[in-house]
């Protein structure tokens, strides 16, 4: 996979150069030149904030088409935990799964089941592991990438357990290979994704060499198809569904409740996550055991590829009827065995991107920094965006790096 694959891309034709996305990007990865937005691939963490804020729908997501698994013998759809909140109040979730199956799948699995399993694993791991300072959840791929770029000293605080989606992929493969005596090449698994960062984590994963999933389809793109299938038939099978605690991973705070931990911080919204991570670095959260961090406000229900307003979706989860979640009894011993076998761990180091570093040589970096401070003193400090950079400071950095000219500032 391309070293710079990103699931967030710009449709130049629709872009009006309005600077909304540029101001909203938490990594200051966007510049506007010649009335077009440009995303710096080295800085972008695929959080999708730009997609959410673009009034012209020019910021888009790159996702797979469903037919990427048409050649596989066993076609699997992994439904996101967020899906229940996307449909009218108390639509029977089995019907949603059935409607999705009709799009060409042999099997439909519920991510919430694997959230139940992850909850048990995390709870066990936290009891055993002694990490200094808070453990940071590794569920949100945008947060992991944010840490990799802006908070490299916190990489060691990340929980070393794969996300629910990868756990699902690995366990589904194990189950199908046993049941049908087939190989990995026979199995095609697609995640129906509410999230751009998740698409990236499948196509260009961190911490592992390759994903257990074959691809990700945007939930938004197939929503219409699911709705039409829901209306066209009333028949549905009974699917294995996650328990109530697993389903609540869909919104912020749900994960922390499910792992039953005291002393946690649950933070949503990428800028709020930045604030909390800054506080961790300062040692302000040393008494906190776990940080649940979600780049999207509301948690995963706030992902850019969802249909529904996150707060409406959350209220649906909170009023979920019994038949829409499972009541599965999990084998704690087996799950603990799985945990201890390393089946769910990362096997590749997460290396900092060093995107903030001005130069690998400290003396050169100091010279650049002084240059930036000198330039900054000449600038008006309006952060207006007219130069095509999100702030005067980032503009000064661009000039120091030779990527912009001071004449681009309209106010000098």
């Amino acid at each position: 996979m391309n070293q710079y694959f990103h699931s967030v891309v710009l449709d130049e034709e629709k872009c009006m150069g309005c600077t909304n996305c540029m101001q909203k990007c938490p990594m200051e990865a966007i510049r506007v030149k010649n009335r077009k937005a440009i995303i710096d691939k080295e800085r972008c963490i695929d959080c999708g904030e730009c997609i959410k804020v673009c009034p012209y729908h020019a910021q888009k997501s790159v996702t797979d088409d469903i037919d990427i698994i048409s050649d596989f013998k066993y076609k699997v759809a992994l439904m996101p935990i967020t899906v229940f909140g996307q449909f009218e109040d108390n639509t029977r979730i089995d019907k949603i799964f059935e409607a999705t199956k009709k799009l060409g799948f042999d099997f439909v699995y519920d991510e919430a089941v694997f959230a139940d399993i992850a909850s048990i694993m995390i709870k066990n791991l936290l009891k055993k592991q002694k990490i200094e300072g808070p453990v940071i959840s590794s569920h949100c791929p945008a947060v992991i990438r944010l840490i990799q770029s802006q908070f490299p000293d916190l990489i060691e605080n990340l929980l070393n357990i794969e996300s629910t989606v990868e756990i699902a992929g690995r366990l589904i493969r194990r189950e199908l290979k046993e049941k049908y005596q087939c190989t990995d090449d026979d199995i095609g698994i697609i995640y129906i994704s509410p999230c751009t960062a998740r698409v990236t984590s499948i196509k260009r994963p961190l911490g592992i060499h390759y994903s257990a999933l074959n691809g990700a389809v945007s939930f938004k793109k197939i929503y219409g198809d699911i709705v039409r299938n829901l209306k066209s038939s009333n028949n549905y099978g009974s699917y294995r569904k996650g328990n109530l605690k697993g389903t609540r991973w869909a919104f912020i705070g749900g994960q922390s409740e499910a792992i039953d931990i005291d002393k946690y911080v649950a933070v949503d919204g990428i800028f709020n996550v930045v604030d909390v991570l800054e506080a961790v670095e300062m040692g302000k959260l040393d008494n906190i055991k776990y940080i649940e961090a979600s780049a999207c406000i509301g948690g995963c229900v706030g992902g850019p590829l969802n249909i529904e307003n996150p707060y409406i979706a959350i209220s649906r989860f909170k009023h979920m009827e019994l038949l829409n979640h499972g009541n599965l009894k999990y084998n704690y011993y087996e799950i603990d065995k799985l945990l201890r076998s390393g089946f769910m761990h990362w096997d590749k180091e997460i290396v900092p991107t060093e995107i903030l570093t001005l130069d690998t040589n400290i003396v050169e970096a100091m010279k650049k920094l002084e240059k930036i401070e000198k330039i900054l003193k000449k600038l008006p400090g309006l952060d207006c965006g007219s130069c095509g950079a999100p702030s005067c400071r980032s503009f000064a950095e661009d000039i120091a790096k030779g990527r912009a000219k001071i004449e681009d500032c309209k106010f000098i």
Binding site: Q150, P152, D153, E278, E281, M282, G283, K284, P352, E354, L356, T357, L358, D359, T360, I362, V363, A365, M366, K367, L369, E370
Partner: protein, 142 residues
Amino acid sequence: MGEIKEAMELEYEIVPNDFDSAGEASSNLKRILKQLGINSKIVRKIAVASYEAEINVIIHSLGGNMNVIISAEKIEVKFKDNGPGIDDIDLAMTEGFSTATDDVREMGFGAGMGLPNIKRCTDDLKIFSSKEGTILEMIFNM
């Protein structure tokens, strides 16, 4: 041919009892250290120590400043304030001992871990204090 010693100096003013800007000096320092590519473990230690010291100046003193000298060999962070001074430095270094007022404690500060935390993070720590003011000199080796 002698070695060219390049060093960078930074200075930030710290206003007493100003909780709007509390932590800004140490945050700015942290950002600069990251831009200079300083080892992330060292950045973390400096972040913790400078934050604690900055809060001490805000809570306990009549105001002061943070002065930083960065070179390729080490980083020196010096906090200087205008009083009223630490009566008993050894006592102040004891974990849990605090002279913070109730107002300050209600804000969540004043747990009495500041100076011990700072000592834990630094490679060398010197404290000088009199009624005229206190100086904290921290050295972090690269």
